[in-house]
Subunit: 359 residues, 4 copies
């Protein structure tokens, strides 16, 4: 479905970097949820460029307007269209992009696919597209919290070689938001910030890992056999710009263990079935088992660097392209709300599907 | 859509481990493709238990029958239903599973979700479900090869700590199939086989990594923004039983590089746009760029071990469960055709979608 | 989705008239519904040729087998695959069809679309395809009855000019089944039977109208704005072979009234909102209002007649074709269970969707 | 999918009568189609209230703005979001609707479903929702015309008992647009206009029939077995506000003929397969046969009348409600572009699906 995500709680994003704006239509949101712009704007502010010295300095307020789907501050059960106007339209800043393909961007592949591309700011390939996701995700997070008691969090787990120590069962939102890199391990956060600042000065970029967490998910969400919860989470994460890898629970590391070591024994605790370890990451056979869901997503270093690189142009000649002006040395701090949003979109959709078939 | 995969080339699997059989309906296959059971059976034989001394010794011939969708050896453009009868029905072999949940299997989560489960052989959660995927994938591979010139391959890249050296651009099918572990690096393969045999003797199990490759994919397949090619590949792989992680191109390793190092420069070569490195793994912005697509999938060690483990039963009491009889020490050799199948299902679907919108 | 119907309760039919058989996969059926073949066979028997002297004399027992999705007589929540083997395979009876297109059949259009067609018995275009629908519909009817208190009925309302008097609010299943034409107005039924027998003797065919009824549907089922309940019912009916028209409530006749006459006034009756007339047919704005849902479907006269007609062949030459042997003088008696089935499939899907979003 | 229509060319409408506006997102539109607001506004003007003395006098300019999906006047292949701001917001004009349900409107059913409703102007149930459809349909019509040579038309065929004589094979757009009722039979048009004016004076309303036509559709569009072309057309039409019935080709009238009379003989004409009659309405077995497609849609008389009617209120008390101010005596002239739009949306979607599977 290309620009639509979800089966019952359906998120359709639209918009290019330069043009009328970017936005989203959410179809399938349950009625009578209290909802105004103030429920959504905080997450957009966490995604916004210019929020700190370690992210893209592009200046946009990213002010959201709800165009439909609510009445007197409550959802109607009808499609919620939300819109953020484009403000910082400076096509001239991108003029070299008009004819040349930026390496490891989507300029060439969009051109190969569509035979046309909106080159200013990258058009549809711009990370501005994620504004719609974050807005939809804010609604999903509110639904999950108020109606299911589920909490969704994400944080920076690693920047290049700098790894944070974080306990997915305990980490709190305020610890994540206590610093500009969104890493709840304060010592690691400081080193990460220094590394990112160094990259910015060098006109280079750096990637890393975000860990996503969902707590309070009851046993039973997820659908065999293709729409497994981890499969949908994986797809959600790998649909984010710059993501290259996904692992849940033990992930790639789990292959170093044997089956006896890796299995999570079941035990009764206060009348509830729990597992004494959680290598499964809260999901077994594609269905939540009641334990904390946690996973990691790798984001490559941002492709825009302030250096000259080899490339080709639209007329298929070899040439070079040089990054100029401002750049985003690390996408991770701004990607944290994106990971939360996509996690929430997956979970709320599965919550509704579970209610439909088994509720 | 739970048991259906794909948007235009739609694969719906059905069936439980014990019962009438397992099968698949493929809807949306183009007409006039030569197709008989002999196009499909070889892949089922690669997936079959009992094929070698390092996989599950369960004895089933897994003989496939095409029930619909072809006429005089050609596809009609109508749904292709394919069926494999269950033969090895020995519910008594599973009697302990009737009441107890096997650790790190899906017994508990299915019970939590549906309030009922077919415990003999794991019912729907059995890897027998993948027969339908492999059968559908065989059709998809044939379409890709004959109509698009695309070749899909997969092989064992790593077993526990044993890593093979393989070049995704060069590896050949016959090298993969030259040994029972399906690893084209012969020296590594021998060590892998010894490790798996040791695990079998110890009643334990071991996991690893399969690498998937698609060569010849033209630039332009894949859909912005949610149905990115890597997102759909990730979902496909994470929907396979026992998979825990997915990475494309540089994957998790790419975060150790900076943007300048990681970007893939474009160059003209014989009039064609190529990249001189391929950290992107053949996909940029969710769309194929014409380079080799390659990715890795981690499979955890199989959960069934020949030992006694803690668990709970359906009446929510603590208890233990003991694996008995035969077990599968390593899923990797049999998972190779599964990875190929899911890769082909993703690619053929995107090929059709691309043709519809941009063809 | 071509061969799939429904969003949450998904019915995928497969199979051709000649070949391995015809069948259906039902995905999304709630778990723990008591279900065996005996719940389904009676509706197949009502659809079966050879059931009376006024329908096609083709001899097939149409015995259904459940291949998956149940365990110990209960649904598992997994896909239910059901299969009816083809028995009456006599391709020689159809040899003239191998090269010639039967007028007002789908032979030509399938050939134009797919470039290939299974000509024996019409292949996929045979009414045998509806076996899968009727089987799925039997499950849907059981769910609606047991879990929602909804009763679905259909009956022959008109054959050519012969119109029956029936009250949709009162009609009973046993009255419908009291005669071979399935018309609860006994006097009309006798005239209808005589007309159909005359047609059979003349080698000609006749069409008519089936009325469908759903009683006990609560207010609130149906989705604005495209998936209106009447839109989905209309699509369901118009997807049946030989159907040409659909009307709900007042239908085409309603245009002879003015708005003042046509509006259905609301009144309170025993604490429940009712309408004192029901020109709306139980649906307003696409959503059920709690009144009886009723609609009519027109079926054209069957295209196979025992006469010589002009046509063209696959080589695009003018020629004639002559019907031989047995024919079906009127599809209506056998179409009654098809209308019930499609009605039930629409309603159960909307019941689940309503529960998901608003339950 | 509730507010989304189509499988490959997907139209999602959003918006309520009062609020930020109404709009639509079109996803899946092929790239490089010339497209600006001037391609769309003319159809919106044909749908607009206040366009003549026989339609609703409500004053809105309905000026459309394209927010995304185009670049330098061409489609990008990305989602096209289009928006019409609400102007005539006078909630006070609707104050009686705040608590009372208008008879034969959707006020009660929306309240029963969602437990909340946007009562000003009917909220989502307002015919303003069709602005999004007409805008999307204008794109679809342009694609069909420029890339497939298909022409889509609709006209008023009947108002109450006044029936027009029109030849679907010959009728021209300019004849349809030559009068305010959009009936190409001038004599009938005059009588229709007089009848509608009489209704307006009496505060009453009248319904009728619109005929839709598609010429130039090649043989082969449409999907067996559920997504038949006539099934999708039927759904499309029955999803329009106030529609109650749909018939294709001979429709309900066809049941008065026998099979011998009703069959359409095939003949070769200038090397092309044609039928000498067209009772099938251009579709056989759900697939276009190359003849003119034509069908009829019945629209009930508009529910809002300038009289006092019985109803109930939100507190479930019997009461009355009185229509005041302006009303729309006949929806037909404004429904003509809606029928065209939905026809085009169905056809373009099937054109893309056909290209994907069989192209």
């Amino acid at each position: 479905m290309a620009n639509t995500f979800g089966h019952l709680f359906r998120t359709t994003t639209w918009g290019e970097s330069h043009g009328g704006g970017v936005g989203v239509v959410v179809d399938g949101c349950p009625p009578r949820l209290a909802l105004t712009e103030t429920d959504i704007q905080p997450d957009l502010d966490r995604r916004r460029p210019g929020q700190s010295r370690i992210v893209s300095p592009r200046k946009e307020s990213d002010t959201l307007q709800i165009l439909s789907g609510t009445f007197k501050g409550k959802t109607l059960g009808t499609p919620i269209c939300m819109w953020v106007k484009n403000e910082d339209a400076r096509p001239e800043a991108y003029s070299e992009m008009e004819k040349k393909f930026r390496p490891s961007h989507a300029d060439y592949t969009y051109f190969a696919k569509f035979g046309i591309r909106a080159w200013p700011g990258g058009g549809r390939t711009s990370a501005r597209e994620t504004i719609g996701r974050v807005a939809a995700g804010a609604i999903a997070k509110k639904l999950l919290k108020e109606r299911c008691g589920v909490e969704v969090l994400a944080y920076v787990k690693q920047v290049q070689r700098l790894v944070a120590e974080v306990n997915p069962d305990k980490v709190r939102f305020k610890d994540i938001e206590s610093n500009i890199v969104r890493c709840p391990d304060k010592a690691a956060a400081e080193r990460m910030i220094r590394l990112i600042e160094k990259m910015r000065r060098e006109g280079d970029t750096v990637g890393g890992i975000i860990e996503g967490v969902a707590r309070g998910v009851p046993a039973g969400w997820g659908e065999p056999v293709f729409d497994r919860l981890e499969a949908d989470l994986g797809k959600a994460m790998l649909s984010l710009p710059a993501s290259k890898a996904f692992e849940i629970g033990s992930g790639f590391g789990g292959i170093l263990m044997t089956g006896r070591q890796h299995n999570d024994p079941f035990r009764l605790r206060k009348g509830k079935v729990v597992t004494t370890t959680n290598y499964s990451g809260g999901i077994q056979g594609g269905i939540s088992n009641g334990q904390t869901i946690f996973f990691r997503v790798a984001f490559k270093p941002v492709a825009t660097v302030m250096h000259t690189q080899d490339t080709v142009d639209e007329d298929f000649h070899n040439t070079t392209i040089t990054g100029r002006g401002r750049h985003d040395p690390c996408v991770l701090p701004r990607a944290v709300p994106m990971v939360e949003a996509m996690t929430a979109l997956v979970l709320v959709d599965h919550a509704l599907r579970h209610k439909a078939q088994c509720g």
